[in-house]
């Protein structure tokens, strides 16, 4: 059961004199919903960037299902089944919601220049299939009525949903969610949490960075606390909540 999908050893990244990430060793277990919390500037997003290939680490190794992905390109990591979202929602503004979904569902082969030039019947079939699949997911996320609107016309919350839908359309094994609840109203936040829980129950391993501590404690099976780039706690939500180092990191030391 406790199969490890991600192994991180001695991962370091500095910006000038500032140590952004300094993780000695970290393993993530398959089918687990893990959250990373920590004060602002704790290195959470940088850690995400390092394991998803968006930034190169100074030292250390990252293994995805025992494959070394240190310094791999983001797209090749994504093709291995680990898909990330972004803290500042990145939707394709001047494309329709449906196009956003269909682009994400489409494979590299289907996108190829030659195929698009020749227009093989197989491409039409693929397009029809991914269109259906896109509508299915949009319906689940309740954005199907916006299918033909430009993505930039969506509200902030709908953009979060679209980004989430885009990242799950190709059935990833692992989802890296960077603040999926940021800037979302409480009711929609509930809905998104429920969606994340459902995905987790479907067997997707999820690693989530989130500032909403209540939400994190409610749904996570494991909570990792980062402060100044280092892991200061790594346990079940209950133990982390009462961990003194965590309280100190969040609230400052009690002995001034």
């Amino acid at each position: 059961m406790s199969n490890k999908y991600l192994k991180v050893t001695n991962l370091k990244k500095s910006f000038g004199g500032l140590k952004a990430v300094d993780v000695h060793s970290l393993n993530l277990n398959t089918n687990e919903l893990t959250s990373i919390i920590g004060p602002n500037g704790a290195g959470k997003t940088t850690f995400f960037d390092l394991i998803s290939g968006f930034q190169d680490s100074d030292e250390g190794k990252v293994y995805l299902n025992d494959k070394n992905i240190t310094r791999s390109q983001p797209y090749s990591i994504a093709r291995l089944g680990m898909i990330r979202t972004f803290q500042l929602t990145k939707v394709f503004d001047r494309m329709t919601v449906l196009e956003n979904m269909m682009f994400s569902a489409s494979t590299v082969n289907n996108d190829s220049f030659i195929r698009s030039l020749i227009r093989l019947p197989s491409q039409k079939t693929t397009e029809k299939n991914i269109k259906e699949k896109s509508f299915e997911i949009m319906k689940d996320l309740n954005i199907d009525h916006m299918a033909n609107s430009y993505a930039r016309e969506l509200s902030g919350g709908q953009k979060k949903l679209l980004e989430l839908g885009r990242s799950i359309i190709n059935d990833p094994d692992i989802l890296l969610l960077d603040e999926p609840l940021a800037g979302v109203n409480p009711k929609l936040a509930e809905e998104i949490l429920q969606i994340i829980l459902n995905l987790s129950e479907k067997g997707i391993s999820i690693l989530m960075v989130e500032h909403n501590i209540e939400a994190v404690m409610k749904i996570s099976q494991r909570v990792i606390v980062l402060a100044e780039g280092m892991v200061i706690a790594d346990d079940t939500p209950e133990s982390v909540r009462s961990d003194e180092k965590v309280i100190e990191a969040y609230l400052g030391s009690e002995n001034e």
Binding site: M95, E99, M102, D111
Partner: protein, 351 residues
């Protein structure tokens, strides 16, 4: 193209600008019109290539003149020509259409070569690199006199293409007192525009076009979704560069000579002006933008003379670009998406 308010308005403005040619000239209207339509065809084709870069993929390319120049130089050097100060005559060469094909492919490969190191750069940085690369190209061509003829240019190559000229072009030209060589180039460049637009319509409505637009919108998201954004951008760069190469060949044959001074940065900016006028991201926009642009360029004499009595050449050139600038300013205020651009896809807000 659907008949919408936008397209009817654009066509009306275009017809009006052609009408201006007849209004402002007392004689020789037809040769003037066909001369400007030739340039409009060639520059329009270049703007269509630029639109693949900027409108479709969001690549800020300010080195378009080099792609045009490379296509032209490679093609012309492969066919019989005379180059340099002594006019060294080379009588053997490839058939024109084979040379043209190699020229277009070379321009596309030049795009690839330039793109490999540069395409990872975003926005303004790519613009700086492309403009520098275009200048390097121009200086290289100027100094490699033994091959390219340097500042003396290349002459005597037109016949390779003109020998294919159809009889009906000759008949049409002589009936209207036109230069048949130029009409042949006009015919070829407008035919190329139609073919290239058909090709692009097919490509932009395909998954490939969708992927390019996604790159234009957000490269990081594209990479996070498992797509190789760099390769997509390189493909777009090559396609646009190839189209530019084709238009450069027509430009050379229209002049009948190749001069280093043809492929200068100002050429790039003419093409940019045409694309912005016509509408960034619109397939057909550059055609209309190009016609209107060339009406302004060729008819400013009359307008300048209305403003200054006895205007000299320099003053006319000044007025010309004041007018183009004014038109683009008005356009940006009242119709920022250009004549044919979609308001929803307004593409000039480069990040």
């Amino acid at each position: 193209m659907k008949i919408t308010f936008k397209s009817s308005l654009t066509i009306l403005i275009t017809i009006f600008s052609i009408f201006l040619v007849f209004l402002l000239n007392d004689e020789g209207e037809i040769p003037i019109l066909f001369n400007l339509l030739t340039f409009a065809g060639i520059y329009g084709l270049a703007a269509i290539g630029l639109n693949v870069h900027f409108g479709l993929t969001g690549l800020l390319n300010f080195g378009h003149a080099a792609f045009m120049g490379l296509g032209a130089y490679v093609t012309v050097l492969l066919i019989p020509h005379a180059a340099g100060r002594e006019g060294v005559v080379i009588t053997t060469g490839l058939p024109f259409f084979l040379a043209l094909l190699i020229g277009i492919i070379s321009a596309a490969l030049f795009g690839l070569l330039l793109g490999l190191p540069a395409i990872r750069l975003r926005g303004d940085y790519l613009a700086i690199v492309t403009i520098a690369a275009a200048e390097i190209f121009r200086l290289l061509v100027r100094d490699l006199e033994s091959v390219t003829g340097g500042v003396y240019g290349i002459i005597n190559f037109s016949n390779s293409l003109q020998q294919y000229r159809s009889g009906f072009i000759d008949n049409f030209a002589s009936a209207n007192d036109l230069n048949p060589s130029q009409i042949w180039i006009a015919f070829l460049s407008w035919t190329s525009i139609i073919l290239v637009l058909l090709l692009l319509r097919r490509l932009t409505n395909s998954p490939w076009g969708r992927a390019l637009r996604a790159v234009r919108e957000d490269e990081d998201a594209v990479r996070a979704l498992g797509k190789n954004a760099v390769w997509l951008k390189l493909q777009s760069f090559m396609l646009g560069a190839g189209i530019a190469g084709l238009s450069g060949v027509f430009l050379a044959f229209n002049y009948g000579t190749i001069q280093v001074s043809t492929f200068v940065p100002i050429l790039t900016f003419y093409v940019w002006a045409i694309m912005i006028l016509g509408g960034v991201g619109s397939l057909t926009g550059p055609i209309f933008g190009s016609i209107i642009f060339w009406v302004i360029i060729s008819e400013t004499n009359g307008i300048a003379q209305l403003i200054f009595e006895n205007a000299n050449g320099q003053q006319i050139a000044g007025v010309r670009f004041v007018l183009v600038g004014l038109l683009i300013m008005l356009l940006m205020i009242f119709r920022p998406s250009g004549l044919m651009g979609k308001k929803e896809e307004l593409l000039l807000d480069v990040k």
